[in-house]
């Protein structure tokens, strides 16, 4: 197709890509393909390991004529998100990608983007936060911005990265929502590990996400608009309250609706909270990212050994799915929450969120917390077996038989608290 163009001719259209029914993509390329298929108008980005291949992939699609749009390769992550905010306020589909320190640098603008109700999609390839410097996967970046007002999805493998990107645009850009969304994936373990991905055709993917519908866009010159105003004690609270209210009441029904539609289209079903073998489980692990699949493999083995083990994966981290957690953990006697981020002087975030969900519910369970896998340290099946053994003891005793918080897989004397 590209060969048909004459030299100097302005390219006014892009070529579609023929994809196989099953492609072999890593998480980064799956994200880049999704960005191509939704026909992103502006990408404003800055490279950082391990998310860099997403924007490299987008740049190559642009260079090869597989997408039209503008690519702002800016001078820092702060500028990347600033460019996203300007572009989104102008009125179009916007995305970027980053990790770790990059997210930390853009943190200021993340709050501004959500407060300005701009539907930007950010692919966050989870990586540890320095110091010590580390390029590998943990969830400290994801946790750092959990109060920033962004919707946060979590993918456990490249297929889910692809699917959740399409879903994220649909949810974020809905005029009833108008909030930015993060799609999380584990650095290297998902981002650089190729696996089978079943993509939609270009036409089907675009039809699912739909044409971007602008709202209060700066580029409508007949209706000038002021973005990013000042509010002090007179109005700031109302703005923040409304945003929280929308996250608590409007986002779940919308995600539910989009999940259902996606299932009809692809047969792939997503839930706010993914319960695996939880219906009759006696013990269960709650975790995120690639650890869900590791835990599930061990749980299946334990089932064969007669232990009623289950696994709970968090699919939507923000807003936090309170009711879905209560529903999923119902009847489970002992539950371990696994946090891949140092809480630095508290219980892990998943522990606190689960405890906060359950404390006034009918669900009574023994809840414990494990901190694991910092800086990309492997979570082995042996670790997961140890945790399930603790849980079984807790379930049998009807109370915690271990410390409430333990570090697992770290050198030196055992670290346990409370």
């Amino acid at each position: 197709m590209a060969g048909k163009r004459r030299e100097g001719e302005i390219v006014m259209a892009f070529d579609k890509m023929e994809l196989n029914e099953v492609e072999v993509w890593d998480g980064n390329f799956a994200a880049a393909q999704a960005l191509r298929q939704v026909q992103i108008d502006v990408v404003s980005a800055y490279p950082i390991t391990p998310s860099t291949p997403i924007v490299e992939g987008y740049a190559k699609f642009l260079s090869d004529g597989y997408i039209e749009g503008e690519f702002m390769m800016v001078e820092s992550e702060h500028a990347a998100m600033s460019g996203c905010v300007g572009a989104a306020a102008a009125g179009g589909r916007v995305a970027t990608a980053t990790s770790s320190q990059g997210l930390a640098l853009m943190a200021e603008v993340l709050y501004q983007a959500s407060g300005m109700r701009l539907p930007i999609v950010l692919n966050l390839v989870n990586r540890a936060l320095a110091s010590p410097l580390n390029v590998n996967g943990d969830h400290s970046d994801m946790y750092m911005v959990r109060d920033s007002g962004w919707i946060q999805f979590d993918a456990y493998n490249p297929q889910e990265v692809y699917d959740l990107n399409l879903i994220a645009f649909r949810v974020a850009e809905d005029h009833g929502i108008r909030l930015p969304a993060v799609v999380n994936q584990d650095g290297f373990m998902t981002s650089h590990t190729a696996s089978n991905v079943r993509p939609l055709s270009d036409d089907d993917a675009y039809a699912f996400v739909g044409e971007f519908k602008p709202m209060n866009e700066m580029l409508d010159f007949d209706h000038p608009v002021t973005h990013g105003v000042q509010t002090e004690e007179d109005w700031h609270f109302e703005h923040k309250a409304r945003q929280h209210n929308d996250l608590m009441t409007k986002v779940f029904p919308k995600i539910e609706e989009v999940f259902e539609e996606f299932e009809k289209l692809t047969g792939r079903k997503y839930n706010m909270v993914e319960g695996y073998m939880t219906e009759d489980a006696e013990v269960a692990i709650v975790c995120m990212g690639t650890s869900v699949e590791t835990a599930l493999e061990v749980a299946r083995e334990l089932r064969e050994e007669g232990v009623k083990a289950g696994v709970v994966g968090i699919r939507v981290f923000r807003p936090w799915p309170f009711e879905y957690i209560i529903e999923t953990l119902k009847g489970i006697k002992a539950v371990a929450t696994l946090d891949r981020s140092s809480p630095n002087g508290a219980m892990g975030a998943l522990y606190n969120e689960c405890a906060g969900s359950l404390v006034n519910s009918d669900v009574k369970t023994v809840l414990t917390n494990y901190v694991y896998g910092l800086g990309g340290r492997d979570l082995t099946k042996a670790h997961v077996r140890e945790i399930f053994a603790d849980l079984k003891a807790n379930a049998d005793a009807g109370k915690a038989t271990t410390a409430l918080q333990q570090f697992i897989g770290v050198r030196g004397p055992k670290l346990e608290y409370l």
């Binding site: 306020a89 102008a90 580029l219 010159f221 000038p224 002021t226 105003v229």
Partner: protein, 318 residues
């Protein structure tokens, strides 16, 4: 390119298409609003504007009010330039894709920021915008101080000025560092146009803004903005201060084309001694004590040297 707006006289100019309302919270005598009106009135084209956090921003967009009758955005202190760059990128993308609501519009993209937001905290963001070649104009409202937060020194604050973080005191004459030459740094990016402007020289201002809006690529404008509150002069004397600044050559007016060719655009008929400029402002009051009088002499020498350098560059065509 759209037709350039024709401006006959000051009366017509000051009452032409008004997209910045007088209803704002800026101090009486603030030069910011004068400069903004001069810039906006220089064109009839559609505008996408930004302001970085600072006096202009906090005084013109306090919810539920706005002083702007043109699309306007504020994100933060450092990134107003990049906000406009993002909007410009979206404009280009939607133009290519045929999705603009007014496809025949010829919008101009302008970011306003103070010297703190430009010389200091937003320096990198502006450099990035200039380097990437966005079709935009960044205008510094240069009042040589963090005025919005109460008069702290910036890298634009000149030697000898008393600022709240560099106060004149029993053993100090205030700011010890020379003002950063931002125009030279921005011109070094090789951008098509950079210039200094002042609100009192409105014809020079309009010419430069129109030139800047007509060129393809990034433009940097440094606009002197006398600050009644922090420079400490009577609000009615704003234009007198601006006259003293341009006519003493403390603030020379010139332009640099394509990062290379420098043209001086205003030569005062009667050059005013720098001492008169300093004497008109409370921030330099302490310099007139006996122990600091040598600083006034040094000020004059510095201004003379800079003027000499500008003239030599102009003559040499570089």
């Amino acid at each position: 390119m759209s037709e350039m707006k024709k401006i006959k006289n000051l009366k017509e100019f000051s009452t032409s298409a008004d997209r910045f309302e007088g209803a704002n919270l800026l101090c009486p005598g603030c030069a910011h609003s004068i400069i903004v009106r001069e810039v906006l009135n220089a064109t009839n084209d559609d505008l996408i504007l930004s302001a970085s956090t600072g006096c202009l921003e906090v005084c013109t967009a306090v919810y539920p009010y706005t002083s702007w009758d043109a699309s306007w955005i504020h994100i933060g202190f450092e990134n107003g330039s990049t906000a406009v760059a993002g909007a410009e990128a979206m404009y280009k993308a939607l133009k290519t894709k045929g999705r603009l609501k007014q496809p025949d519009a010829n919008p101009k993209f302008v970011s306003f920021a103070g010297d703190g937001a430009s010389y200091d905290i937003g320096f990198q963001w502006i450099s990035g915008c200039m380097e990437r070649g966005h079709n935009m104009m960044h205008i510094v409202l240069d009042n040589e101080v963090y005025a919005n937060t109460g008069g702290q020194r910036s890298s634009s604050t000149p030697i000898g000025a008393s600022a709240t973080t560099a106060p004149a005191g029993r053993i100090s004459y205030g700011e010890k560092k020379n003002k950063k030459d931002m125009v030279a740094i921005m011109a070094a990016h090789g951008i098509p146009y950079s210039a200094q402007v002042a609100p009192n020289k409105w014809k020079d201002m309009v010419k430069k803004i129109q030139h800047g809006m007509a060129v393809d690529g990034p433009v940097f404008i440094n606009a002197m903005s006398p600050c009644t509150t922090e420079w400490k002069f009577d609000p009615k004397d704003t234009m007198m201060l601006a006259d003293l600044a341009t006519d003493s050559l403390v603030f020379p007016l010139y332009e640099i084309i394509d990062g290379e060719k420098l043209n001086i655009t205003y030569r005062p008929k009667n050059i005013v001694p720098v001492e008169e400029y300093l004497a008109a402002q409370g921030r330099f009051k302490h310099l007139f004590k006996d122990e600091y009088k040598h600083l006034i002499k040094e000020w004059q020498e510095r201004v003379d040297k800079k003027w000499e350098m500008l003239q030599r560059r102009e003559e040499a065509g570089v």
